[in-house]
Symmetry: C2
Subunit: 135 residues, 2 copies
DNA sequence: CTAGATGCTGGAGCCGGCTCCAGGTCAACA
DNA sequence: TGTTGACCTGGAGCCGGCTCCAGCATCTAG
């Protein structure tokens, strides 16, 4: 079990951010000591860390919420599915599919800009090398 | 020559955003008609479009500013460089290098999350396929 | 038993990046 | 000549995502 400070340390979020996420309902409430002090399980910390990773890919909090929510159930559903279940699954599939294509677009854009940046960088490094050679 | 409306259309920024970027000194002032109406050259539009691409990779406006500024001169510098020039080149090299490694980190994170997302997506699609089969 | 660190809550504030608005100018067309 | 419609400016407002603060409780070490 970890205090909020430790959880912050481990996950890369700030203490305030952890409380903020909890407040807006993004993350589930951790357990509390009788005195009201938050206590994060190993598992909580894992979930938060993967959230942190998601965040670094530029997902908005709304998107993360959606991403998190599709973790529930359906591990071993009975067929045929109830209409409700089918809808839930279809909605999650759609959300994830949209996510994915946005990420793919971003991935390509990133590759592109990285390429350009490498070129420019090479150009400047080259100048510096020439300068050194010409010393 | 393009009006601001056309430039917005072509580059993917909004009209307001173009004016905003100009105001904060991110982009250079386009020409103006005698009446004060902005008039963007082919070249301006190209620069703006590549800015838009940069933006999509998550660069902040500050970073973009830095990225843009290293376009100047040094195409054919005289060696040895003046101290000033060397410093400029070194600084740009540093800025770009930092950019690049941030982008690389993000690239990896993105690949990672995309992989996870594909897995989940497959899982749900599989459920739907099974459902269809069990109809 | 007291000081210092850590935690709690609610709410205000801040920053980046737009976005919208009022009030006005200009150009062109019917 | 009057009415659109695109443009202008300066400034206010907004939203996402934190970040900070006051004022208080709790825990731990010395």
């Amino acid at each position: 079990m970890y205090s909020i400070g430790q959880a912050a340390e481990l996950t890369g979020f700030s203490i305030d951010t952890l409380r903020y996420y909890e407040k807006i309902g993004l993350t589930k409430q951790p357990e509390r000591s009788p005195a009201g002090v938050r206590s994060y399980s190993e598992d909580d910390v894992k979930r938060l860390s993967s959230l942190h990773c998601l965040k670094r890919t530029g997902l908005s909090l709304e998107e993360m919420k959606a991403f998190l929510q599709e973790g529930r159930c359906f591990a071993n559903p009975a067929f045929p599915l109830s209409g409700e279940d089918r809808e839930a699954i279809e909605s999650r599939t759609r959300i994830l599919g949209e996510h994915l294509s946005r990420m793919e677009a971003q991935y390509r854009a990133l590759a592109d800009v990285m390429g350009q940046t490498r070129e420019k960088l090479d150009f400047y490094r080259d100048l510096l090398a020439k300068e050194a050679a010409a010393k």
